[in-house]
Amino acid sequence: MTLTEQVITILLAALATMATRFLPFMIFRENKPLPAFVSYLGDKLPPAILGILVIYCYKEQIFSFDQKAAFGLLAGLVTIGLESWKKNMLLSILAGTATYVLLMHFF
């Protein structure tokens, strides 16, 4: 690939990515009323997306469970436990990540 072709490749990737982000806004314009089901989706879809993202985070562990996967699960439980208990997002994320980093470092 020449430099020009590389630049075009990057621009195309950016264009396709932007299409996935901008399309809904181009289809459902601000000045037109939102179809009722689309509005319903806007409210109900996000919690499901978060659930799917949680599965996404553990997609490798589900197929091959090893030591690293166990650390990920343990650190995840710390995160979930802290968030349920203290309801402090920053604390939950930092403590969960610290748990994982320390486990990776010492074992």
Binding site: A13, A48, L103
Partner: protein, 226 residues
């Protein structure tokens, strides 16, 4: 620093830091393959979708195939279509801010922006703009640093990318504990798991999202009738 910026800093800080570290990894990866630092920097700035950027790096070393790149990029990032549908109302009437809010809507930014509860009197769209900016800057800065310094960097911390997992877990738990009806959250988990086991890692997310829309369609029909 205004109130919106302060709050955004607090909410975005873990991911901004995580993005910087992951960006460094990505920059080093490109550096080791012989790319000038401008490549990771400009790719991070213009695409701002981590997983695609790693994949694209490998494609850049192969034959030029524009249609493949367009198709692959669209499919890999197709989940953003569903984020957009969720943000139609929150981004409404955002004026000039809207362009950047949509441009920078990666998984993490979307999740933070959608989930954040904003105190009375603060401008939510301004807050979301700052969150988007902090995450974007973190990623681009990391990619540039990694691309510039390459293998000189020795302060990598293994496992720090867990911050992304911790973010989604935290947001899920906080959503779950704050909602009256768990239908969407629990169905999302179940459909995600089902789809992963059935269709494998590559395409499970897109398929899960489509199944979810179908399920919500039936639920919507039922609610309208009731």
């Amino acid at each position: 620093m205004n109130q919106e910026m302060k709050l955004a800093m607090q909410k975005a800080m873990p991911i901004m830091t995580g993005f910087t570290f992951l960006g460094i990894t990505y920059g080093i990866f490109m550096h080791q393959l012989g790319f000038n630092f401008l490549f990771p920097t400009l790719m991070a700035a213009s695409i701002f979708a981590g997983s695609l950027e790693f994949i694209l790096t490998n494609l850049l070393l192969k034959d030029f195939s524009p249609w493949l790149v367009l198709f692959l990029s669209f499919i890999i990032n197709s989940r953003h279509l569903f984020y957009g549908i969720s943000m139609l109302k929150p981004f409404k009437n955002a004026g000039w801010k809207k362009f950047y809010l949509i441009f920078g809507m990666c998984d993490e930014t979307f999740s933070i922006n959608f989930s954040s509860k904003i105190p009375e009197g603060l401008d939510r769209q301004k807050f979301m703009l700052y969150v988007t900016m902090f995450n974007h800057v973190g990623w681009v800065f990391g990619a540039m640093l990694g691309g510039l310094l390459g293998s000189l960097i020795t302060f990598q911390i293994p496992g720090v990318d867990f911050v992304m997992v911790a973010l989604f877990l935290t947001l899920f738990v906080s959503q779950f504990n704050g909602e009256e009806n768990h239908f969407s959250s629990l169905t999302g988990l179940a459909v995600g798991l089902f789809s992963l086991l059935l269709f494998g890692e590559e395409f499970f997310m897109l398929i899960a999202l489509i199944i979810m829309v179908v399920i919500l369609w039936f639920r919507y029909k039922k609610e309208v009738r009731a």
